[in-house]
């Protein structure tokens, strides 16, 4: 057994320049991305005042990935959503007003989709999730503008 392990390590260390085989890569890279379901029946946070499902996820300047601090909020929300079968949410991204407009839209959309992807990984039904990136065309209520807000439907 030990000999096998040593052999494997030797094999791996001897091929440092060869790209990592797919089964050793970070599983997050391999995650399946699901297309968004139809938007029928979802209400926009612009049309009516929707209630947030949890606290807003604050992103720092350039980040597009979820951090440790977001993880806890997203996990507890996922737990809640999996237990209550019929809850649907809309995940809306916002970006700071000082960013170039189109980049702000892309950034906020990307962040909203990253939150959606994590919720799906945690077992939430993809059909219950919709995303939208408002960029800096609209500002969310609250002190920070670089946020993703998850609204209850």
């Amino acid at each position: 057994m030990n000999a096998y392990a040593a052999f494997t390590i030797l094999l791996l260390s001897s091929c440092g320049s060869i790209p990592m085989p797919s089964f050793l890569r970070n599983p997050a890279d391999e995650a399946v991305v699901y297309a968004l379901g139809p938007r029928d029946g979802f209400t926009s946070p612009l049309s009516t005042g929707l209630k947030p499902a949890c606290q807003a996820l604050v992103f720092d300047q350039d980040g597009i990935h979820l951090t440790e601090s977001h993880e806890q909020t997203v996990r507890s929300l996922a737990k809640e959503m999996v237990s209550e079968k019929k809850s649907r949410v809309i995940i809306a991204g916002y970006a700071p007003p000082n960013l170039p407009e189109d980049h702000a839209r892309a950034l906020s959309d990307r962040r909203a989709l990253a939150v959606r992807q994590r919720l799906i990984e945690l077992g939430v039904e993809a059909a219950n999730l919709q995303t939208v990136g408002f960029g800096n065309d609209f500002s969310p209520s609250g002190p920070s503008s670089g946020v993703v807000v998850i609204y209850k439907q």
């Binding site: 991305v33 699901y34 297309a35 968004l36 379901g37 139809p38 938007r39 209400t43 926009s44 946070p45 612009l46 049309s47 350039d62 980040g63 597009i64 990935h65 170039p100 407009e101 189109d102 980049h103 839209r105 892309a106 950034l107 959309d109 990307r110 989709l113 959606r116 992807q117 919709q130 995303t131 939208v132 990136g133 408002f134 960029g135 065309d137 609209f138």
Partner: protein, 405 residues
């Protein structure tokens, strides 16, 4: 191919002509890489010399005066007097605001004759001037060109159109929750934009002449950053209905879309090369947006090559290809402030055209000017002289200008 070569020669000839009198700013720009072709003969050619010949009809005198103003404002010609040597002559007639114009060359050969019957005399003469410029220089004139922009004057972001002088401003959208991210069709007849009328961002198309409007996308997720292809038949835009934002190219006739990018980040602001075969866009993988160029597949199912285009700056957004395809203007950040930069494509050194908060550059149709936003005001800068002026001031906060013929 021949036609394109001829166009290139004409472009060169005219850019040489204007260099002669532009002075030190041009020399400076020569060093940093703009207009760097054929330095040796730059003094030999000058602007085409044009004469306003006899006009007939009831409004002949006012037509001649207005035409002279338009030709001088275009800065494409030397307007010659009656006894001076000329390369071209315009003659025509004007009755009750209608205009018929005829362009002849130095030998008296007729190059074109056309009638203009729009309601206003000025409008007709602007159209005539642009036709004269196009016939002689091969590049579109600016008199009939339009700039589209977003303004929050009414409290919501809505789309406005103005002319190249900052006049004739019209609000063209009145959508609930606003409309943003506009792009003009190459003939200025249509605007594509992102509408929030349903509460969600969807791309719509508005015909400015007829007034009808239709949806292009109503997909889940977001759609924004639309850009017309040079022939006006396709629209590049960012869409995220596949669960990931990507650059899509939609055929406006069939309403089918093809994905051209392969991103794990946040792509934005596609802009077409004038050949219609390449698109430049910004993409943020989590460490600031960078510029990428992708080939547009010409056949269905064709593969497209995608590569990073390095500019030497860390933060690059809103790229736009110049009308001759030889430069790309973009927004970057210098010293904590926004700046507009230009870099020759594919190679050459980038330089900052305007710092101090300038952003979102867009080229004039003839490539001689760049419009951009600085602190919510719309500016135009002459790339030959370096002079700039505010087109629209105190008109709410203006963003996202785009300039088309």
């Amino acid at each position: 191919m021949n036609a394109r070569a001829l166009l290139l020669i004409l472009t060169l000839a005219v850019s040489l002509g204007t260099r002669a009198e532009a002075g030190i700013m041009d020399t400076l720009r020569g060093w940093i890489g703009l207009g760097n072709k054929a330095k040796s003969e730059e003094q030999k050619k000058s602007m085409p010399r044009i004469r306003i010949g006899p006009f007939t009809g009831g409004m002949a005198v006012s037509a001649q005066d207005a035409l002279r103003k338009e030709l001088l404002a275009s800065r494409e010609f030397f307007v010659a007097g009656d006894d001076e040597k000329i390369d071209f002559a315009i003659e025509g007639s004007s009755v009750g605001g209608r205009v018929t114009g005829k362009l002849r060359d130095a030998k008296g050969k007729e190059l074109f004759q056309r009638s203009y019957a729009a309601p206003g005399l000025d409008e007709n003469l602007k159209a005539l001037t642009d036709d004269v410029i196009y016939t002689i220089t091969g590049r579109p004139g600016l008199a009939t060109s339009r700039i589209v922009f977003v303004c929050d004057k009414t409290g919501k972001r809505q789309i406005y159109v103005c002319d190249a002088e900052g006049g004739d401003v019209h609000q063209v959208t009145h959508d609930k929750h606003g409309a943003v991210s506009p792009s003009l069709a190459p003939d200025s007849s249509m605007v594509a934009f992102t509408s929030y009328r349903s509460g969600f961002p969807i791309i719509r198309l508005l015909d400015l002449n007829v007034g009808w409007e239709r949806g292009v996308t109503d997909t889940p997720g977001s759609s924004f950053g639309s850009a017309f292809s040079p022939d006006g038949t396709h629209l590049a835009a960012v869409m995220s209905f596949i669960g990931n934002p990507e650059i899509f190219v939609s055929d406006l006739n069939t309403n089918t879309a093809a994905c051209v990018s392969d991103s794990v980040g946040a792509p934005a602001s596609p802009s077409w090369h004038p050949d219609g075969k390449h698109i430049v866009f910004s993409n943020d993988d989590g460490d600031g947006p960078k510029l990428f160029v992708v080939e547009v597949p010409q056949k269905e199912g064709g593969s497209s090559r995608l590569f990073r285009w390095r500019t030497g700056y860390h933060f690059c957004t809103d790229p736009e290809w110049s009308p001759d395809g030889r430069n790309i203007a973009f927004t970057t950040r210098r010293g904590g402030e926004w700046a507009v930069a230009i870099k020759p494509y594919p190679n050459g050194g980038a330089h900052i055209l305007q710092a101090g908060g300038a952003q979102h550059p867009s080229w004039s149709p003839n490539g001689h000017f760049l419009t951009y936003i600085q602190h919510g005001e719309l500016f135009v800068q002459d790339l030959r002289s370096g002079n700039r002026r505010a087109l629209l001031r105190g008109f709410g906060r203006i963003t996202e200008p785009r300039w088309m013929r």
